[in-house]
């Protein structure tokens, strides 16, 4: 049961993301803020940290390809960045402590890096013309806040689910 729950949650998050994207951009006092939901990659980072780096990279590749084909029509962008972020997360966690607060912070920082790389890429190919300062203010900061909130609410649930799977696997092995 738990075995299938892990990919099922990933699929669900993948499908839910664009629904949340419809709530954005929001307007506060005449200023426009873009909130980019990055639920799936946060979840994959958690899998990478608490379960298996290799598994997370595989999921990252799979969902990255889906993301590229379905949403942005540029193949090879997310399908590289998602596995890369998962790989980084799995590697970082080997040298630091796996407390939930620490992992949450790492995940949010990784998402910010991902967002920044994407901005640089889209700036390079002329899809966007906004200057860096605008990007930081109207996109990066709100996105970080929104995703940090999301992770604070659901991070423990991810950890619980993944730990259940790890335990199950340990039992199977023994």
């Amino acid at each position: 049961m738990v075995r299938f729950l892990i990919p099922a949650v990933a699929v669900l998050l993948f499908l839910v993301e664009p629904e949340f994207a419809m709530l954005s951009p929001i307007e506060v006092k005449g200023q426009i803020f873009y909130l980019v939901p990055r639920f799936l990659i946060l979840y994959l980072i958690f899998i990478s940290i608490y379960y298996s780096r290799q598994r997370a990279v595989m999921y990252g590749l799979f969902f990255g390809v889906l993301y590229d084909v379905f949403y942005i029509d540029i193949i090879g962008l997310y399908s590289v960045l998602f596995p890369l972020v998962c790989f980084l997360a799995g590697s970082i966690v080997k040298v630091i402590h796996q407390h939930l607060v620490v992992t949450t912070t790492i995940s949010v920082v990784l998402v910010a890096i991902l967002e920044f790389i994407l901005y640089q890429f889209f700036y390079l190919i002329d899809f966007t013309t906004i200057p860096l300062s605008d990007f930081l203010r109207s996109r990066l900061l709100p996105t970080i806040i929104a995703n940090a909130l999301f992770l604070m609410i659901l991070g423990w649930a991810f950890k619980y689910l993944i730990n259940a799977r790890v335990l199950q696997r340990a039992r199977e092995v023994s």
């Binding site: 951009p25 084909v69 949403y71 029509d73 193949i75 590289v80 002329d126 899809f127």
Partner: protein, 303 residues
């Protein structure tokens, strides 16, 4: 041995990089159609997405309803004031309609630029990373959707179809950075002024209408509709209201800022307009991001 292994990894990495660059440049090329594997993925994800979109749309609908319920009193007052005008306007409208019919019979003209067959569609997804302003609909070529069709809500024009697969279609919204995305528009009034909607102002969050004849008088508050002269969109689809008029960069033509009448923040149901009159499939620069307005600049950059 470890030395050899390291080399193998390095070579793999290099090959991977080359492959990646090739793949990205292939997909960045101007494409008119999605390849078959892409279509399969798009359709499969699209079906799953539309299942998820249903409850999500329902929830946003409920929230909207609550929101409009809170505004009922204000709205009712406003509507009551408008109601008196309504009877007069309706009488005039039916009068005009019969006039038009008569004239059309006189001129033996059956096709109108205004006529279109509506295809109703549900928005199943919005590009989550929001770099391109794009939405995805649950109707595709098997429902009669074609590339370049106009997409609108009851309030006004939203965008146009840029990519079609059998069961989904992608819509590029009016809010786009693409310099080749133009809509032929017309200012409603005693003397109709024509112009082109070209791009939008990020800070004001408004559309820009350019190339209006400087002899025409265009005022703040006038309504802008599509003209149907672009060969793709039907005529008289509302676009928005003029908020400011100024002179173009070169001083020869006027330009106007337009506040769009459609609400772009909450899009759930839209209508795809299949124009009845002959359409042309032309689109500037094949809907690429290549800047045709300033070809000189593009060339300089390339050099």
């Amino acid at each position: 041995m470890p030395h050899f292994f390291f080399n193998k990894k390095l070579i793999l990495l290099l090959i991977g990089m080359v492959f990646l660059v090739a793949l990205i440049s292939f997909s960045l090329r101007e494409r008119t159609n999605a390849t078959l594997p892409e279509q399969i993925i798009k359709d499969t994800v699209g079906v799953a997405q539309s299942i998820v979109a249903k409850p999500a749309n329902y929830i946003t609908g409920v929230i909207n309803n609550i929101d409009s319920l809170l505004n009922t009193y204000e709205e009712n007052k406003r509507l009551k004031a408008r109601l008196d005008e309504y009877a007069a306007v309706q009488a005039e409208a039916s009068d005009l309609k019969s006039d038009i019919k008569k004239f059309q019979e006189l001129m033996d003209k059956s096709e109108s630029l205004k006529a279109y067959d509506p295809i109703h569609a549900t928005v199943i997804a919005r590009n989550p990373d929001q770099w391109e302003e794009k939405i995805i609909l649950d109707k595709g070529s098997s429902h009669g959707v074609e590339k370049n069709m106009a997409v609108m809500t009851a309030k006004g024009l939203v965008g146009k179809v840029t990519l079609v697969t059998p069961f989904t279609s992608e819509v590029e919204l009016l809010y786009t950075n693409n310099p080749n995305y133009r809509v032929s528009a017309m200012v409603q009034g005693d003397n109709q002024a024509y112009g082109l909607i070209e791009g939008y102002d990020k800070e004001r969050n408004e559309l820009i209408m350019k190339r209006i004849d400087s002899r025409q008088t265009v005022k703040k508050g006038q309504q802008v509709v599509s003209s149907g002269l672009g060969g793709i969109f039907p005529k008289n689809v509302p676009i928005g209201e003029i908020t400011e008029v100024s002179t173009d960069d070169n001083g020869l033509t006027k330009m106007a800022y337009i506040k769009p009448s459609a609400d772009f923040s909450i899009l759930d149901y839209v209508v795809i307009a299949k124009r009845s009159a002959t359409t042309i499939d032309g689109s500037d620069g094949n809907t690429s991001n290549e800047d045709l307005t300033h070809p000189q600049k593009g060339k300089e950059e390339a050099e």
